[in-house]
Symmetry: C2
Subunit: 542 residues, 2 copies
């Protein structure tokens, strides 16, 4: 697979759209040259080391033999290059060897890894979650024990939430934690869908595991978070946790999705007893944003592949000359740019301490960008024609890989519930009101009257929809929540692109925004009937 990090597009999204340099005061050592150097370095890693393993990893898959999961050929060497480059610790605490750079910059780096090799990138993504959980919730001795090795990439991390009977419903989980005399807990239970839960790329794996301490209250208020290292800290002995199965999946074949058995494994409580969900949400929020970025990354890879094919493939004309093919390619490109801007803006909000905006944008970044990943990957298949359906063509893998992103880290339906229930109701629409005002502002400042009109109307539609959601009965609002999220993403993506265009003289980006306004913003009003769909007609389903 050939992939080139779209550095100009990334910088436009980060600097112009997402207002990255509003962070300048917080990161005085960071300047344009360093930013460029980091993105170029990441781009080189992605293009030269990871992309060449994308298709071979898909074919080779992973295997479980005698409790050992073998990564596909080449992954060990690639992980070594990744580790040596210091990429894992880009945004981590310098006390433990991190570089203390903005998370938004680390996210942009992750975009290139996701694009080049989604299966591979899941490994650092999960480790990042473990780092953030321990940074935020770990006791000093836990930080000392784990952070340095995780941040250097020597060890990797996992998140263990799901159980066979408890998917999105964490309150139902049953994994047990029995207190031991030495202060540790014996963890017993089974976890499923554990990404990179077992592998041979790192000498130790640090599992973050949700479980119930004996006697804890039922439901979500009785869940605690534990650190369960594959090899015990005390003596380096093998802990009683092992991978007992791998899922056979439709995509991301090169990443092991493990069923993990905990059989009285030694675990250490992290954070407060029975407050495990809150701690897990630290990981989840970062992971959700990263999954959104995955959607953008895989879409970018699919776009590049389709564009190259369209320039080379003749059907009468070279197919890129066909208006319908151009329409598809531009749709891909415009939506990718919007999704990228949303994800980066969410991370910049996090870096800038704008918690309300980070919270608001997280479910949108996750769901909108992963829907986009599937849509764009499907368009990529379509542009390839018959070769799109044939695995050799390369487009099919993106379509298969992209499909997981709307599901994991909370399905997109759950993101919509989160946007409505926690975020919108949480501040009675205040943060969304800021977004609407920004969209109005961007519309007013646009030099393109069509864009100004489309974006202005879109802002009004978002306002109407927001007012409705805030006043609707809960079940009615839930029936329209997914459409509301889609509408919000459409508008926010357009607003961010318009902000970027206003700051630059980039004619191609202005044309892309105009196209986005015509094909996306022009349609947002039509979401209103879907958003206002009440629970009543849903009773028609029997």
């Amino acid at each position: 697979m050939t992939y080139t990090a779209p550095i100009a597009d990334m910088r436009f999204a980060l600097e112009a759209c997402a207002d990255f340099w509003s962070l300048r005061a917080r990161y005085p050592d960071l300047d344009e040259d360093l930013l460029a150097a980091i993105l170029e370095g990441a781009g080189a890693l992605a293009a030269e080391t990871l992309a060449p393993l994308n298709r071979s990893g898909d074919r080779a898959r992973v295997s479980l033999v005698n409790d050992v999961v073998a990564a596909p050929p080449g992954f060990r060497e690639a992980y070594e290059v990744f580790k040596q480059g210091g990429w894992q610790g880009l945004a981590a605490d310098p006390t433990y060897g991190g570089q203390g750079l903005p998370r938004s910059l680390a996210l942009a780096v992750m975009e290139t890894l996701h694009a080049a090799n989604m299966s591979f990138a899941l490994l650092p993504m999960l480790t990042l979650g473990a780092i953030e959980a321990i940074e935020h919730h770990g006791a000093p001795d836990q930080k000392a024990l784990y952070l340095e090795k995780l941040i250097s990439g020597e060890w990797s991390g996992t998140m263990n939430l799901t159980e066979p009977q408890a998917g999105s419903d964490l309150a139902a989980l049953t994994t047990k934690a029995a207190p031991q005399a030495d202060g540790s807990y014996a963890i017993t239970g089974q976890k499923i869908f554990i990404t990179w839960g077992e592998h041979d790329l790192a000498p130790n794996i640090i599992h973050l595991v949700l479980a119930r301490i004996e006697g804890a209250p039922p439901g979500s208020k009785g869940i605690s978070l534990f650190i369960v290292p594959k090899f015990r800290d005390e003596d380096g002995s093998r802990n009683a946790v092992r991978c007992i199965g791998l899922e056979e999946k439709m995509g991301i074949h090169a990443s092991p999705t493990c069923t993990m058995a905990y059989e009285g494994a030694t675990g250490w409580l992290i954070g407060e007893e029975n407050h495990g969900l809150a701690a897990m949400f630290t990981m989840m929020n970062a992971a959700r944003l990263n999954v959104g970025m995955e959607g953008v990354g895989v879409a970018e890879a699919a776009y590049q592949k389709a564009l190259a094919y369209a320039k080379e493939r003749k059907q009468g004309l070279v197919i890129i000359e066909h208006p319908d093919v151009r329409r598809m390619l531009l749709t891909m490109r415009a939506k990718i740019q919007a999704g990228r801007a949303i994800c980066y803006a969410c991370a910049v909000a996090a870096d800038g301490g704008d918690k309300a905006m980070e919270d608001l944008l997280t479910p949108i970044a996750k769901a909108w960008s992963t829907d986009l990943g599937v849509e764009v990957a499907s368009l990529g298949v379509q542009i390839h024609g018959g070769m799109g359906f044939v695995e050799e063509g390369g487009a099919a893998q993106f379509y298969r890989d992209a499909r997981i992103a709307p599901i994991y880290e909370g399905t997109n339906g759950i993101q919509a519930i989160d946007l409505y229930g926690r975020k919108l109701l949480g501040d009675r629409g205040e943060a969304m009101g800021r977004v609407i005002a920004m969209a109005r502002d961007a519309a007013a400042q646009s030099k393109d009257p069509r864009v100004a009109a489309r974006l202005g109307d879109a802002a009004t539609a978002l306002e109407e929809a927001t007012d409705y959601m805030l006043s609707a009965e809960r079940n009615d609002a839930l029936a329209g929540a997914s459409a509301y999220l889609s509408l919000a993403g459409d508008v926010i993506g357009g607003m961010l692109m318009a902000r970027g265009v206003a700051k630059t003289e980039d004619a191609e980006k202005a044309a892309l925004l105009a196209f986005y306004a015509e094909i996306v913003l022009s349609r947002v009003g039509s979401y209103l009937p879907l958003i206002k769909l009440t629970a009543a007609p849903l009773a028609a389903l029997t």
Copy 2:
């Protein structure tokens, strides 16, 4: 896999929506009892014989060893059941053993086969194409030689169009036909993507092959159609055609997609010299409608699977109680019912000799229903959550299988060009004008004021869009053609459902139509900016 033919839904679509009984005078022997018996018989074949092989066939795949392609285990026995049931010849000429029933009824039968096992159903679907080509274009001796054995299912048929350098652009094909002393032609060339081009389920395979007779004019006016039997008619000896490779595809794993090498194979001209494309279009049109039906079939199977899962899976509540899950399920169900009605109506138009309506509806049935197949299969995956991405869950296969349908038999982009260039311009919008009038009529007769309003507005939008397409510059029209097709499909699906509801007292179908009006018809106006997209902004793509 569990699948139950949705006979009530099928009959509603066929009889109430598509006005099947308008054909009564043409088929005096056909009555409701026979119709019911045929659909129930097909449903039993699909459910009991084909559906159980769907997942096993996906896993087993097909293999090519020493020029022989082995079908997956169980397919031989299933094909025997299919053959013995006389299903292949349902709509074929009684002179050669067919049953002379309406093609629309045969299409409904095919729906159940596509739904139960898309890979399997491709075999009779391709044979059907060969039967129709020979019925329409064959000389009497060719009919005598081939039809009986094809109609009985003893032999199977294929369509050989695509070559490595010529996909959608048939004018570029280079396979040669050299005249021989005995009146036959020696066919030499390579064809790709030949579905069921080689297999071990039938003792002979009749290939219909496009090729150029030596000295024929270049381009599409120099193409002739040939019959190339795997075993020669004269002496039963093996013809010089063989499968030299199978594609590794993302889906429909149980159907071989062959690269066929013709090395001076004996072929017989069918139809007139240099008029091969016209003859091929006889097959193509039937095949396009059948591919549309495939989209509906795989969507129905995905829907049934998702519905069953949603009723059984708990996440707090049984997940079907979640408004967002109900919304997805109802969206699937409503769109399936619309797509089914469109496909059936197209076939009823063909049976009734309404050529203009058949021609108009064919590209819409193909493209709209196959887009629907992908969308619904993707929703099915989403409803399954993590289990949707795991192959064991069964939803993933539908998502992989469904993805070919928008590609083959002319990509959906080509269908949109056909709808605009051949159909709309061909009669200056007359047939579409009839459709618009029917939609207005159905709106006026609806007892549900919301449906009446939505459908009336949708008819107006279709009229506006049609007027635009008829007057636009060609390249501008082509830029909006796909959106125009989507709009037309949305409206026609709603119109047909409304006609059906008006004729029955089926409250569930009335509720489904109301839902369709709210989530689909309410949005059709928003296609207008996409349809009116001109070629100019597409220049932004570099």
